[in-house]
Point group: C2
Chain length 398, copies 2
């Protein structure tokens, strides 16, 4: 049974979605809406009699348009979208997912909470959804129902973010390494980090991650014969040095990370112990396979060495945590979704209360219950009677 | 959700079934109950506190015991059955199907309507179920709920029998042939039927079928060299003659049926036309493959010839009719089943009406509805609101 109980109006929310799940990036681009286009398209749709609300949500992974209105609203939306974007309707339909009523509400909640994203639980989408909603609100293109649903979806996302560790449980080695850098305690604050193999895939991701926080300076090594390579992570806090000179910078480093794909040690115990003083606390992280760092350096005074096994164990543990957090997040979402559906289902009855009261005035409970028994199927009768049982308790507890 | 809404009592019907679906005939025999055993076993179970009703249904295809009572009733039943029959409980459980609550009610309806029988829609089971119910009723072992459910199951079976052609649509050639015999019109009434090949499988089934109605006399042929064969269908209305003498009896026959497995004609046109007078209306039915009767006899005056193709077409058409009738019968059963469930679900509330009325007295509809909204899940809220919509209409229509 769908949620639209308001039979006369028959209003419902719909969603038309072109997402990374069904369409490649160049298809998604054709459906993208710039700021000005959004405003224009919303205005255009709001002129249709069937439509009482429109929200256009565009990110690099999805173009979604939510409409609220009569059962004709979704048809109007598809025709207008095809027309506005100059795409044949048949072509458009190939890439679309259409959600109606409760499935549209469910989809909105999933999107807002980052459950429909490429990276599960990412929260960038929440900001984008809020912005999309605000644009429509400013144009007067959000009706009562949409307002309730979007606000509740945002509240749900916030609750999941606050109450679970879903977005705080990294699984990738690059993120785990960066977290170790952030967690490394140093008086004075500024941290010097060397990344050996900074131009590699792992090296550049780690560099990007650690530079996302202030107070970190990166010394990255490159092979001289590859010095023509573009260094992806540039910036005032990055210094590029020749791989061969790496040892001469080590004394000033708090943290050294090595992520090359070569077969040889990038750091040997013999050479390192000649270069660094034992007074300083240091963290060495080796994320290469085969290992880059001579395991013996872990024996040096005040030096901690983590190798790839350490991070893989961490990642595995985090996977378990993440799955548990995902269960908790799902439970929260179901609860919030149910509350949202109840609110929109119940809303039309607030206006009808007076009429209903008059209709039932003076009728005995027996009469009403026998009427119900004689008209509804057994499944519904059970729900009604169970509700009656509850009601008897709830009003006593008041 | 199960039907037992009477939380305090928590009463429900259960069924423990050993049927042709799960157990071979020698296993079923071990679970069979004779008349005296039934009475004894019912008495024994009724002494248990958990049990408020017992019906024991035994036929050659099934041994089923229905109990009504608390949730302990089914456990008591299994233990007592194992003990009474001297079977280890573990052994017993291997052959059992257990049905609880609504599935037990559904099973009872299926059984009573012949939907669970080896021959779909057969109605012998209805009489057996009524008898089983009556035995328990006489012993005071049928509680309110069981009484409602069994009576409604019987009414349902009767309605299916009256309103559909399920049990009146034969599929087997033997039954179709017999129906032609019954339908054959003859002044004076008594019909003479010859069955050529009476000792064969088809011949003996046909003979048995046609003798089930009065006023039919059978002349059956046997091969002299096989005269030591037992003629299954004996009786005062059966005369056995030598196959070689068949033509000399044909003049007195109204109907001749041939069902041998031989390669030769049992009736040739040449010989037949010498023996019979053309004044008499006659029906010849050839159900053999290859054909037994010379097709040319169909050209003889006042003689009608049906061959196996005729019956197979009839059977095929009947299969289609039977499937349609089965759909109709299923629809009737669903409706009746729903009504039965409603009655047992509603019953406890009749006694509670006064208390509920007092609990809700003076409460505004708004208050009650907000309480419901805040306590029940959205699926239930939708049912309650939909019921309220209906109620508004129904009381206007009164």
């Amino acid at each position: 049974m769908n949620y639209s109980m308001d039979k006369k109006a028959g209003r419902m929310m719909y969603c038309m979605s072109v997402s990374h799940k069904k369409a490649s990036v160049n298809i998604r681009e054709r459906f993208a809406f710039h700021e000005k286009e959004k405003t224009e398209f919303i205005e255009r749709l709001m002129r249709k009699e069937a439509v009482t609300g429109v929200v256009v949500l565009c990110t690099c992974n999805r173009s979604e348009i939510y409409v609220s209105g009569t059962k004709h609203a979704i048809g109007e939306l598809q025709r207008e979208a095809a027309d506005y974007k100059g795409i044949r309707l048949e072509e458009l339909l190939k890439y679309l997912n259409i959600f109606s009523g409760e499935s549209a509400i469910g989809h909105l909640f999933k999107v807002a909470c980052g459950f429909d994203s490429m990276v599960l639980g990412e929260d960038e989408i929440l900001g984008q959804a809020k912005e999309a909603y605000q644009i429509s609100r400013d144009q007067g293109a959000v009706d009562y129902e949409m307002n309730v649903l979007f606000q509740r979806a945002f509240a749900c996302a916030k609750r999941i973010k606050t109450d679970t560790n879903l977005s705080r449980t990294p699984l990738s080695v690059a993120t785990l390494v960066a977290n170790e850098v952030f967690r490394f305690e140093k008086e004075g604050g500024e941290k010097n980090v060397m990344v050996i193999g900074m131009t590699g895939k792992m090296g550049s991701t780690i560099t990007k991650n650690i530079l996302s926080k202030q107070g970190i300076w990166v010394t990255g090594t490159v092979r001289s014969h590859k010095s023509d390579l573009t260094v992806e992570a540039k910036g005032e806090r990055v210094r590029v040095v020749d791989y061969r000179d790496r040892y001469q910078y080590m004394e000033e480093m708090d943290i050294v990370i090595s992520a090359t794909s070569g077969p040889h040690y990038t750091v040997t115990c013999e050479e390192l112990s000649e270069q660094i003083s034992p007074e300083k606390k240091r963290l060495f992280m080796d994320v290469a396979v085969p290992v880059d760092m001579d395991p013996e350096i872990g024996e040096l005074d005040r030096l901690t060495l983590y190798n790839i096994d350490y991070f893989e164990t961490l990642s595995k543990n985090n996977t378990e945590i993440k799955l548990k957090e995902l269960d908790r997040a799902n439970a929260i979402m179901e609860e919030e979704l149910d509350g949202a559906i109840k609110e929109v289902v119940f809303h039309p009855y607030i206006k009808r209360m007076e009429g209903l009261r008059k209709a039932f005035a003076g009728k005995r409970l027996d009469t009403l219950l026998y009427e119900i028994r004689d008209h509804v199927p057994s499944e519904d009768l059970k729900v009604v009677l169970k509700t009656l049982d509850g009601l008897e308790r709830w009003i006593k507890e008041e």
